[in-house]
């Protein structure tokens, strides 16, 4: 059985490393890492992930813009996308949700609990 692939896009090297570690070691996923929105689009087309984790604030192509472009790709309109956001503003979280994502995960997150939260989101989709 091939592992489920998850695409992680964050411009912060440390955050990417910890997300990858958490999803791979705890969740048993295979993780593809992208450093920018542009890289994420490229990797998405190649790797066909089961879920995309997107940072919100990134230089050039930010999270919402990357989301819009993924949605326009073949098959991209239905892939689960989750935002990783460091915002604490209620209004900002609501705005992000309204963009059509499966969830908004707050930073900082507990690295050991991240994988099970992703599992939950995938489970909700399957149900």
């Amino acid at each position: 059985v091939s592992q489920e692939r998850i695409l992680v896009c964050d411009d912060d090297d440390d955050v990417r490393a910890v997300v990858a570690l958490s999803l791979e070691a705890v969740g048993g996923f295979q993780v593809e890492q992208a450093r920018s929105g542009a890289e994420a689009l490229e990797l998405y087309a190649r790797s066909r992930p089961v879920l995309v984790l997107l940072d919100v604030q990134m230089p050039q192509l930010d999270g919402p813009s990357t989301l819009a472009r993924i949605r326009a790709l073949p098959g991209g309109h239905e892939v689960p996308v989750v935002f990783l956001s460091a915002t604490t503003r209620r209004a900002e979280v609501d705005r992000l949700r309204s963009l059509g994502v499966d969830d908004v995960l707050e930073k900082p997150f507990d690295p050991l609990a991240l994988a099970s939260r992703i599992r939950d989101i995938l489970g909700r989709r399957a149900a």
């Binding site: 912060d12 440390d14 910890v18 705890v26 915002t87 930073k107 900082p108 050991l112």
Partner: protein, 522 residues
Amino acid sequence: VSSPLDTLKQEFAARRAERLSELRALLERAEQQDGGEGVRELRAAFHKLAGSAGIFGFPRSGEIAREGEQILERAVDENGSRLPGAIAAVVGRLVRSLDEEAGVLVPGLAEGPIALLIPGPGGRVDAFERELTAAGFATRIATCAEAPSLCPGASTILIDVDASGDGYALCRRLSEIPNASATRILYSDGPSAFDLVKAHESRADRLIHRASDLRTVLRGRRLTASDRIAGRILSVEDDSACGRAIEAVLKSAGHSVRMLSTPEGLLEQLSAFRPELLLLDCDLPKVHGFELARVVRCDARHESIPIVFVSSRAEQVDRRKAARAGGDDFVPKPFAPEELLEVVETHLRRNRALRRKLDADPLTDLLNRSASVSAVDDLIQTAAERRSGVLVAILDLDHFKRVNDEFGHPTGDRVLRELAAHLQESLRACDVAGRLGGEEMVVAMEGASRDELLIRLDELRSTVPIELPSGKVTFSAGCAWYPDDGAQAGVLLKRADGALYAAKTGGRNRVVAAWTLPETPA
């Protein structure tokens, strides 16, 4: 998982300086622009850290970053992106909190003396940080605004002269903070004479122009607050009130002072007391200070001794006459105590630095043979005044010929240099370390307790950190004690040499004291 996760956390901890310097660069840019895009970028950086720090075991730092983000957010909303003054303090708190939380995460990280690093715009932080870490410091990077609040905890402060426009002013300001005993080192990538003057005026302890200079400063000379320079000063002053004032001021700063009320006896004292600086009153009866200076300068042995004139006549014309007579400086009467000390200590330092260059053994940078002998004599002089003693030791590397034969002379040279570095690092600034020649070195330490110094000497022996494929490098040592074993360097070295012979024949890698040997006829 926990172990790779810990590794990631530790990497995050190790890279916190990088993050802070990014943050700082943005802060500086925002300060310069006084608002606009810089504030937004800074806010984004705080936002990022607010999100990531908590993941890596820095929850409090994350909260502080969040606070910074919110302050900047309000600024953007309310007053069109002007930079709020409170933000510098937030960065200061972030520095401390990141260090504290890193200390919990990585045991031992927060231990050791603290060095404060204040870089200039686009300053090279890495090289300095490496040197400071290698010297055992926990380094904190700060902006000019944060420096005063972080300064009291630091033992060394390194300031780029271009920091926020004026590192000199900052250095001066830090010197005025009560209880701040840190050594202040200024960095300029191409210091001119003008820089040196400004460095002195801003009360810097050192001006360096390369990161590697730091190594010399930190290792070669232990720069601590207690390491103030103390020299031997000879003063000729006929006014008894003024003479008493000079004596009191100099002695209060730890200098050895000898006073003469007339020029008679000056030449004898120059040889007997061997002063490092001469203070001459200009208005002596019979002979003028300037003439006296010329007489002193006639003797080749005293060509380079700093001469400082003290005079109630401090007109421009007098100063010029003083300079022509071979004077190095001029202190007008009445003088402020600090002024006298500043002038005296500046010349002592410079002259010692120059002498060091002339006196250095080129291979090891320790004192050469003749300089070692006179340095031991100087130490005896100091001990005589303090009624203490001097432990004089000769160190000889064991089986050094074999090292050269087996591994070649470059390795032999490296061993000598490493032993010299070991001595420099382990000894106090006031101790003497020199190379007598070949693989023989001399160490002399002044103190009240012979046995305590003997223990320190044996510690030097047991902690030699040099390893060759053939095994650990060791040395044997013989030592003698002033005053019991002799009153001159030559005699003491001879006695130490006899003890060294006993150490060698006794099996090497040991210290033998001359006073434990049976009496030998002189």
